[in-house]
């Protein structure tokens, strides 16, 4: 038996080479999984916000008349109701008689009227220069 201690230069070179190959691969995989985890949490937020926004919108369309214009608004007997995106949140603004003002959803990029409803676009920044977007069509059966 030889009285060998430590590693040879060749063994160290092999270990370092494997490390240099593996570390960037694992790093890239971790970054990707982190983004996927953020996306999953964001999708849950969307799933929970959608029923609220849809119900409010349908109720306002049922009780009021849609107003023409670039934003989504309804004229009801007692007040006007408007939907606007402020600071990334979808805000429903109305007098107390019409349910008051409240935030309905967060991470909202746009809330644009289209034929027979609105398109609600959520946006989630993931990395610099990369943003995930999800657009949902919300109908109304208003007059």
């Amino acid at each position: 038996m030889t009285d060998r201690r430590g590693f040879t230069m060749f063994e160290l070179a092999i270990v370092l080479t494997i490390g240099v190959i593996l570390v960037p691969l694992v790093w890239a995989w971790l970054v990707q999984e982190e983004d996927q985890a953020r996306l999953a949490a964001w999708e849950l937020e969307i799933a929970r916000a959608l029923p609220t926004v849809s119900e409010e919108l349908m109720a306002d369309a049922r009780l009021g008349v849609a107003m023409d214009g670039p934003s989504v608004a309804f004229r009801r007997a007692a007040c006007e109701v408007t939907y606007e995106v402020q600071g990334g949140s979808l805000i429903r603004t109305a007098g107390e008689a019409c349910g008051g003002t409240r935030a309905l959803a967060t991470r909202v990029e746009s809330f644009a009227p289209v034929r027979d409803g609105v398109e609600l676009t959520f946006a989630r920044p993931l990395r610099p220069a990369r943003t995930a977007r999800r657009t949902v069509f919300l109908p109304w059966a208003g007059r």
Partner: protein, 112 residues
């Protein structure tokens, strides 16, 4: 004196790591599928609410709007049934993982 580990010991450690890795990967993919399903269920709910809303106003839901609401749901089928004073609305679709999912809404009053 014995130094280091035997091959069988190393194999056991690697096998345990493999099992833990496979289980966590499976759990993560299940979580992603459930998340995707939550959004689909919310969209199915919007479709059902819209059908109920138009019915309560005595109108027929416009086909193009229904088609647009069905679009995010794979192979979506809408079924409307009358049961006396009750109306049953049902939407079924193929969810993530290929399973069929269903959402239902029962309303009072007639569908026209």
């Amino acid at each position: 004196m014995r130094a280091g580990y035997s091959l069988i010991e190393l194999m056991i450690v690697v096998a345990i790591l493999g099992i833990v890795g496979a289980l966590s990967g499976w759990g993560w993919s299940q979580h992603r599928q459930l998340t995707a399903l939550e959004i689909e269920q919310a969209q199915a709910r919007i479709l059902l609410d819209f059908l109920a809303e138009t019915a309560s106003q005595g109108e027929v839901a416009p086909a193009e709007v229904v088609a647009r609401l069905k679009a995010p749901l794979r192979d979506a089928q809408v079924d409307q049934r009358s049961n006396g004073a009750l109306q049953e609305l049902r939407v079924s679709w193929t969810g993530p993982g290929g399973r069929t999912h269903r959402a239902e809404l029962t309303i009072f009053g007639g569908l026209r």
